[in-house]
Symmetry: C2
């Protein structure tokens, strides 16, 4: 069991009171934070790390992504969403292989760790490959194998998803979690959603699902069921377990009440919403009503970058523009959304806050770089100045994933080479039709 002492640290705890310790100490014992602020007098560290005033803070959670989709980065630009789906992304995905899922996710893990992300909520196909990357990388992750419930799935049958979840949930020393991934109310048959909810409730399994991304999807639900998509999910029982809904952009007051009452976790992906002009979710209202709102990058096919610093800033800016109010989403709020809210959404409540007894999941930001000077306001500096390259070190459960910008669990060169080979093989396959997005 290794003991680390961070000394001379600006400790940004992101606890509910936003305690910040100036030139403080943080003691770590094994997988856990022992003390924050000042180490016990008799603490004997194996290593003392002098941060020279640099910031240590909780690691970030990318709460909704399709990590493997690095293969589609920059592949479908400047298009309306339905053309993005049908003409580009879903056509490319017709050539999907387990190999590209493994290597694409590994490439995403490199990018995420380098940017200070310690855990991710993934929803894709061939998720056994994603689980391999989680095991190897040392990251935390909550995995959902996407299914459509229309009789034809990718790499799995619907009954097998139950085995997948039980096999992976709690694996990798607790770093891995798994849940169900019905795609969305607009792609999944109604009866399938209800059956998924029943099994999830009975077996104690969570759910990760897309909802209410476009006005057309909302109209479709009203036309078919005389309910909003959020109401439909609630009515079919999908909120009776630990449920993560991605997007929930086009929601009404009743939907927000439902999300709050049912303690549904909502994930916002601002880059994608802005790039594809998908609209602005009522995030300040959700937060005011007590909904746990986390942030995610979505897949690189829509967001291009897996950069949570960018998502934090865009989450603030899009609300300020939409409401004409420069005081919206102030101070440390985006940091809390990217850390503790994400950890909670993904089922890692011992992460996302630096506090004694919590998991030693943390990142060091090199706030001595010129573009942070002068650091009048450390929170403003973190939110508005930090880029992925400013993340110096990354630790998960007391284990280093990156130190001084060197990755310690993943072989970047081997991943780049494996990725290139898998992509080239994939692009050599004939492209057919994968799914069709045809709402509205």
């Amino acid at each position: 069991m290794t003991r680390y002492l961070f000394d001379n640290a600006t400790i940004v705890t992101l606890d509910p009171e936003d305690h910040i310790y100036d030139r403080g100490q943080l003691a770590i014992e094994g997988e856990t934070i022992l003390s924050v602020g000042r180490a016990p007098d008799d603490f004997q560290p194996d290593e003392r790390i002098d941060l020279g005033g640099r910031v240590v803070m909780p690691g970030l959670y990318n709460a909704h992504t399709h990590a493997a989709m690095t293969f589609a980065r920059g592949y479908a630009e400047d298009l309306p969403l339905e053309r993005w789906f049908n003409e580009r992304i879903w056509r490319l995905e017709s050539a999907l292989t387990p190999e590209i899922v493994y290597w694409g996710t590994a490439l995403a893990a490199v990018e995420m760790i380098r940017g200070g992300i310690v855990g991710f909520g993934d929803m894709y196909f061939h998720m056994d490959q994603v689980a391999r990357v989680v095991e190897e990388s040392g990251m935390r992750a909550t995995l959902a194998w996407t299914v459509f419930g229309q009789g034809e799935e990718v790499g799995i049958t619907v009954p097998e998803t139950v085995d997948f979840v039980h096999h992976h949930n709690g694996a990798a020393g607790g770093r891995l979690r798994a849940l169900f991934g019905p795609h969305s109310p607009y792609m999944c048959p109604d009866a399938f959603l209800a059956r998924t909810a029943a099994v999830a409730y009975r077996e104690g399994i969570g759910i990760h699902i897309h909802v209410a991304e476009t006005p057309e999807q909302v109209k479709l639900a009203w036309d078919q069921y005389d309910m909003s998509p959020v109401e439909l999910l609630g009515n079919r029982g999908l909120f009776e377990t630990h449920t993560i809904v991605a997007h929930a952009i086009h929601v009404n007051e009743v939907d927000i009440t439902t999300l709050a009452n049912k303690q549904v976790h909502v994930v916002q992906c601002p880059s994608t919403y802005l790039r594809y002009a998908m609209g602005v979710a009522p995030v300040p209202e959700m937060l005011a009503r007590g909904v746990n709102v986390a942030l995610g990058t979505d897949g690189a096919g829509s967001s291009v970058a897996l950069n949570m610093w960018r998502e934090m800033r865009l989450a603030v800016l899009m609300q300020r523009q939409a409401h004409g109010d420069p005081t919206l989403m102030p101070g440390s709020l985006p940091l809390h959304m990217a850390a503790a809210n994400g950890a909670r959404a993904l089922g890692f409540p011992q992460s996302g806050v630096l506090a004694p007894g919590n998991a030693a999941d943390l990142i060091v930001i090199d706030t001595t770089a010129p573009h942070f000077q002068p650091l009048h306001d450390v929170i403003a500096g973190l939110v508005w100045c930090t880029e992925p390259a400013d993340v110096r070190d990354v630790m998960v459960a007391g284990r280093w994933l990156m130190r001084d910008r060197n990755l310690l669990t993943l072989d970047e060169e081997a991943i780049l080479s494996g990725f290139r080979e898998a992509l080239s093989e994939m692009l050599g396959r004939p492209l057919g039709q994968f799914r069709t997005y045809d709402v509205g």
Copy 2:
């Protein structure tokens, strides 16, 4: 005269036809680009630089900033604009010294060069100090000493501004340009604006001015002059010379026609507009009408970061959100705005495009980094993936300002230390009242 050959380069010329050369050659002779695509057979370089497929592209122009204001980075967060001015920024500026202008600008130059910015349009006080930084740094810059025309100026008299301009215009081997800097129609008396315009026209001097940042400023102009602020500037003769207007957010159809007809250069600073919820300028309309629209970071007091990659992305995203149109501002447009449009606005027409005979002002982007992979679309990669830390090399007029992330003209440690000392001295001075922003 040094000759460089860039080989194996992805050459993103940003010429009007958007030529891109795959694994091409770029030859440089002295201060000038000799050839693009393929070097002459008899070209004898002093140094051959193998880019291994990395991108070489024009350097960026930060066309409107107050570089010295790094001292106010993160100093005034989450406030409405008038409180930001009156309670924080203009109060802090009451303690301004020539020293903080010099060191603050030097710190800004470090950040700008590190982020691929080769030239900037600066508007501030004690501009002789800014000129020193331009001389030393090797950057290009177009400087305006801000004046209010109300009888009391900062560090200069209004008549002296003419000498300042003549002394500095064309200095530093042509890297320095200078023009007049009347603050704005809302801070400057009407007669002063007219007089400035007359002198500018007579002496062939350009103008850099703020305009139409808020609806209140527009209302004030209508109330006082029965004209929009843009009309007022035109009517008083300010568009009869090379004029740069910063912001022009709240403009109408007639204003856009005037800006187009008078070939006024408009600079947009998206970070500031979004952070302070200032509204969305009709940029697509301006561009469609032939207005030269460039981008800037504004001062770090409002934007926090001097990051042109961020400004490019935000310029796109804020328009897509405002108009609900994901096809707006597509492809390489933001790169053109940040490069050639900025160079033209600042009076450096031989810069901003990689073409034979143009100035050797360029940057190398390390597009081999994992977060660029796979580079399906090099333009999308540059716009959506690049962060300042991805800029490997910076050259201005054939001279290296940065190589392999090492600054070659500025001493970063000395600047950080000088800046800290000047800031501490400034913060030790009693804060009084500088100006009052009292429109509306």
